[in-house]
Symmetry: C2
Subunit: 158 residues, 2 copies
Amino acid sequence: MKLSQGVEWGLHCAMLLAQVPPGGLMRRDALAGHFGLPEAYLSKHLQAMTRAGVLYANSGPKGGYRLARTPESITTLDVVEAIEGTAAPFICQEIRQRGTGASSPEECRRTCMVSTVMSQADEACRASLRSVTIAELVARLPDSVRTRNAERLPQLAH
Amino acid sequence: MKLSQGVEWGLHCAMLLAQVPPGGLMRRDALAGHFGLPEAYLSKHLQAMTRAGVLYANSGPKGGYRLARTPESITTLDVVEAIEGTAAPFICQEIRQRGTGASSPEECRRTCMVSTVMSQADEACRASLRSVTIAELVARLPDSVRTRNAERLPQLAH
């Protein structure tokens, strides 16, 4: 089981956009350049975050990205789900109903315990990601990084 | 992010083997037949569970599988990690140290918050899986399924 590298990209971009002065837009090439990322590939993830309502995108010559909501209202989970999708990682194929040992439909009225236990673990993971906002991630950046961004980002944004 | 179907297969096989009379071995074809699974593909997962110390395998004409330990001491996580591996799903590529906005080595002495938050979610997921044993999964099967297995498995095991 592996997460796409887009998760790291998406979270860092959301944290950076949270530090852009209110109303400012940051162009895709500026975002890619800030982290040394391939712009075309980053674009795919920025679009996914826009579709998921995490980013607001303005196209055209003055185009760019900003957070669609306050960084206090965007959770780590919002970004992870924007990139990875919301589908559960475990897909139950109901093998308990197959083969020579098959359980009857009556015996399968309750959800299979295997499926239940896997769903609970998935929810524990999501709850953990949901408990941390983008604003909190930014607050835990080293002071010097936030100070540098506060000086640099007004020039990069428009 | 997706888990292999082997996770469902492995958990159900471990639950079934927990119901075999003590010392009994169950052949691979009997396990596959019980759940209607392709034997060759199931074999791969049974071998992974054996390597991980979840199953004990006896080869030869009288060969077969049994749990390597008591079902009370095998957790859902043991089986999931046997099938999926123990690697963390999030691989941090330290993009904070790249590009025009790169943080300095001094600013990166502490682990990146993005990496920390992803590790915490991974650990929450594993803790959830670790909290449920194979014995508990078996105990929550419908009574009729356990009764049928208690009648059937002594004939299938050897």
